[in-house]
């Protein structure tokens, strides 16, 4: 106390100002407390100690200042060794407990000993002549953080109330500084934890507000949204990010900003997760994302402050799913129809827009011309463009590039990054270029329509306005499609071809139309049992035979297929020729038998029924000759029927052939029905009973027209066979008109 003391109030102001400066200069409590403690010495104290309360209630000394640094050090060490008892009588502990400052103007040795933490502590305090103490609590936001103690030693002036006030004020400011520093540290630490979590998540996460500002984005979001860093996203203007992408739902419909879950959240809805097809305009890369948004609410008002948006990238999974479901559907289509032109059109429609923006299918025709059988785009106006392109600049098989090249080589091609130069190089003239530009292809895949043995055509996939890049995954899918479609088309073609041939053959085997017989009605019916491709062995004919006579023929060649067809043709034409030559029925049958015997290989069996018909004034005279064939039925007007004719040997294997010509009269209104054994044998599993057959005949003959009767018989046979005939049915019937000359009745063509 050698120097001239300043007025106490000036010291106080000075001290507080300096403390203020120190406390605002740093956020490090350790540093600032030390500085504050030092400020008080020697102006206010000989010794200053600042204690802070730990989380667990321990009183820990954080700063000590003294005129003599050794003293400070010694006290520091001592306090570390002997922590103050929080429940004890040491003034610091009391002040921390009560939150009230305490002034000890004079402290006796006895007093010092009473609150010392052990004898060493007591000795220290006594040795250094602790005289006066002012202890103020560090209070912030209603909580005691610790205590500030100022001490005068030895001969120094004891503290007064004003000094306690000063200590209190100092402590208050120190406490505030500590509190802020702690809060700041807490926030930083929380932020850091959050950051650590979000940054490392694979999902893209953003935080947006009502106006669309992105307040936070993690690295995954930056990567997803094509930004160099999260900062680029958070500093971008709202509404500038989304236009970088083509955003669609899974059906190819463009999605507006207001449909995004984050926007809908702010509109008061509770949006479902949204599946989004997202194509980066700049690169054409396609991604599939699931976008989810959750609200962050204001705890007081419940208002939505922010939307937390998560984008899950499911591109791989979705791509595989899209490809598989496409292939499954395409395969189903290909298997379901033999009309391959129609099927290819349906497949083209299926491929758009999920697989490509355009799909076209071309097929190689018989004479090497390329025919477009399908083209599809979501916009019909664009389809018209493609048609103009095709008709105006139709590809020919020797074109160096494109569909013709793929058909010739049988190899798949993919063209990516088609730019203006590429189009210009490919275009034949300006009009062509214009059309190409209007179509706007950015990538093209052409794959062969591949049947096992040859290439039938090509499938073209084009990416245009979506800008979607076509990848090798797309190429693989297209190649698979090309193979499946090619195989299906080839099968369909072969089937159609066989059917065509079968029809041609059948036409040769059955008469196109029957001649008119005056006074009589003639009808025929043929029902093939097997597939269209199994040419049958049944045949029938109606020929003019001599003067005013007619010959009705029905026959059945054993077997089916090309061999049987050939024999059937032989049988029919041999009989026609023999009839033309005027042979008797017996003669005709023997001639046919000889012809069959002379066949090079194997035994070709044939049964035949010949009926000659001579219309007279009131009735008709018939002869019936059978060679192994079931007897024709004479059906009376009341429906009763009886077989006519005698059994004879079937032709083609056994010698001699024994046949008999039997005379029969056909009265007006009566019907003679010739048939092949497919009719009675239909539905073999249930043995055919004569009773049932008679019943059917009676019912059928009740039909007013002859054609109707034959139909009824056919239906009855089908019913018996439950729709599955084992043998063909051929029916030939002649009915003598009731009165005079019969008018021509509609012929049933074969």
């Amino acid at each position: 106390m050698a120097e001239q003391a300043l007025p106490a109030s000036d010291i106080a102001v000075e001290l507080l100002v300096e403390a203020g400066l120190v406390l605002s200069s740093s956020l490090e409590p350790a540093t600032t407390m030390q500085q504050v403690a030092r400020l008080t010495v020697p102006r206010l104290a000989d010794l200053c100690v600042i204690d802070l309360l730990d989380e667990d209630g321990t009183i820990r000394e954080v700063a000590v200042a003294a005129s003599d640094p050794e003293v400070a050090q010694a006290l520091e060490a001592l306090r570390r060794r002997h922590l103050l008892d929080p429940d004890g009588e040491h003034p610091v502990a009391r002040v921390i407990r009560s939150g009230e400052a305490e002034l000890r103007e004079e402290m006796t040795s006895m007093l010092l000993r009473s609150f010392a933490q052990g004898s060493e502590h007591a000795r220290f305090m006594i040795e250094h002549r602790y005289r006066s103490a002012a202890v103020a609590p560090l209070l912030a936001r209603g909580r005691t953080l610790g205590a500030l103690s100022v001490l005068r030693l030895g001969e120094s002036e004891p503290y007064q109330a004003a000094d306690l006030d000063l200590a209190r004020e100092l402590a208050r400011r120190a406490a505030m500084a500590i509190d802020n520093a702690r809060l700041f540290a807490q926030v930083s630490s929380v932020e850091r934890r959050l950051e650590a979590i979000l940054v490392n998540l694979a999902e893209a996460i953003t935080l947006t507000d009502e106006r669309g500002h992105m307040l936070f984005a993690n690295q995954a979001a930056a990567d997803l949204l094509g930004a160099a860093s999260p900062l680029e996203l958070t500093s971008a203007q709202p509404g500038t990010t989304m236009p970088r992408f083509v955003v669609q739902d899974e059906h190819g419909r463009e999605l507006g900003l207001e449909e995004m879950p984050s926007r809908r959240l702010f509109a008061g809805e509770r949006p479902e997760p949204l599946l989004v097809r997202n194509i980066v305009r700049a690169t054409g890369e396609e991604r599939w994302l699931i976008a989810r948004s959750s609200p962050v609410l204001d705890p007081d008002s419940g208002r939505i402050l922010y939307a937390v948006n998560v984008f899950e990238n499911i591109t791989q999974v979705k791509r595989v799913q899209v490809a598989e479901s496409f292939m499954a559907e395409a395969s189903r289509m290909l298997a379901s129809s033999m009309d391959y032109a129609e099927t290819l059109q349906r497949i083209a429609r299926l491929a758009v827009p999920q697989i490509a923006d355009w799909c076209a299918v071309d097929v190689l025709g018989e004479s090497g011309e390329i025919e477009r059988v399908a083209v599809h785009h979501a916009d019909p106006a664009k389809v018209a463009l493609a048609e103009r392109l095709d008709s105006g600049y139709h590809p020919t098989l020797d074109d160096p590039v494109g569909v013709p090249e793929v058909i010739r080589s049988g190899r798949a091609r993919i063209y990516t990054d088609i730019d203006a130069d590429a189009l210009a190089a490919y275009a034949r003239d300006d009009a062509h270029l214009e059309l190409l530009q209007a179509i706007g292809a950015t990538a093209v895949i052409i794959v062969p329509l591949a049947a096992p043995a040859r290439t039938l055509g090509a499938i073209t996939l084009v990416s245009s306005e979506s800008g979607r890049r076509l990848s090798h995954a797309d190429l693989d899918l297209a190649v698979r499609l090309g193979r499946r479609a090619g195989t299906a088309v080839e099968s369909a073609r072969l089937y159609t071809e066989r059917t065509r041939i079968a029809s041609m053959l059948e036409a040769a085997l059955l008469p196109g139309s029957l001649p008119e017989i005056p006074g009589a009605e003639i009808e025929c019916l043929y029902h093939a049992a097997g597939e269209l491709n199994d040419v049958g062995g049944d045949f029938y004919d109606v020929l003019a035979y001599g003067d005013g006579r007619w010959l009705l023929v029905i026959g059945d060649v054993c077997g089916k297929g090309p061999r049987a067809a050939a024999v059937t043709a032989l049988a029919r034409h041999t009989l026609r020729t023999a009839a033309m030559l005027g042979q008797t029925p017996t003669g005709m049958l023997r001639t046919l038998h000889e012809a069959l015997r002379r066949q090079p290989v194997g035994a070709d069996l044939c049964t035949v029924c010949l009926v000659t018909l001579e219309p007279l004034s009131t009735h008709a005279r018939l002869t019936v000759t059978l060679a192994g064939h079931p007897p024709p039925l004479l059906i009376d007007t009341d429906g009763e029927c009886r077989p006519v004719g005698e059994p004879g040997t079937l032709l083609g294997v056994l010698d001699p052939v024994d046949v008999h010509e039997v005379d029969v009269e056909l009265q007006a209104g009566q019907t003679l029905l010739l048939y092949t054994d497919g009719l009675p044998e239909a539905g073999r599993a249930v043995p055919q009973r004569d009773e049932q057959r008679r019943f059917e005949l009676r019912a059928a003959s009740a039909q007013p027209t002859l054609a109707g009767m034959l139909e009824r018989l056919e239906h009855a046979a089908l019913r018996r066979a439950h729709g599955k005939l084992r043998d063909d049915i051929a029916l030939l019937a002649v009915r003598l008109a009731q009165t005079g000359t019969g008018a021509a009745s509609p012929r049933r063509a074969a």
């Binding site: 054993c558 059978l626 064939h629 079937l650 294997v653």
Partner: protein
């Protein structure tokens, strides 16, 4: 006369046929039982002899080394149905036996079988015995 016979497996288990049976799918349609004895070979047919199973009978006739026997008998007693294809096999067998100087006979089949034989006028060409073991008169 019953000789030491050996029963072949039913057509369903193709012991002596190739996979052809599987492709024709005739497993249950025709059963052929072969017996040898007293210089004759008897093929007993049961089921249906039609376009699907005719080939099987043809193979049985071709395969069994029937040429050594004096007589071939087709026992049709258990045969329910025959169509023209089946008939052809029977007639071809008849012809071959004749060419080889072998005897050939059938036993009567079901009503349908008999009707077919009658309609096709072959009944008189096919020697018929009442029972397979019977000696021809």
């Amino acid at each position: 006369m019953r000789g030491a016979g050996r029963t072949l497996a039913k057509v369903a288990s193709p012991a002596w046929f190739s996979g052809k049976i599987a492709s024709m799918g005739v497993a249950d349609q025709l059963q052929i039982d072969v017996r040898h004895g007293a210089g004759r070979v008897i093929l007993s047919l049961a089921g249906e002899l039609d376009m699907a199973s005719a080939e099987v009978l043809q193979q049985a006739i071709d395969a069994e080394g029937l040429s050594g026997e004096t007589m071939v008998v087709l026992d049709l007693q258990q045969l329910q149905f025959v169509d023209s294809t089946g008939l052809r096999v029977i007639l071809v067998a008849l012809e071959r036996c004749r060419d080889r100087g072998q005897g050939f006979a059938i036993t009567p089949g079901s009503q349908q079988v008999q009707r077919l034989l009658s309609v096709t006028g072959v009944a008189d060409h096919l020697p018929t015995i009442a029972v397979a073991d019977e000696v021809l008169a």
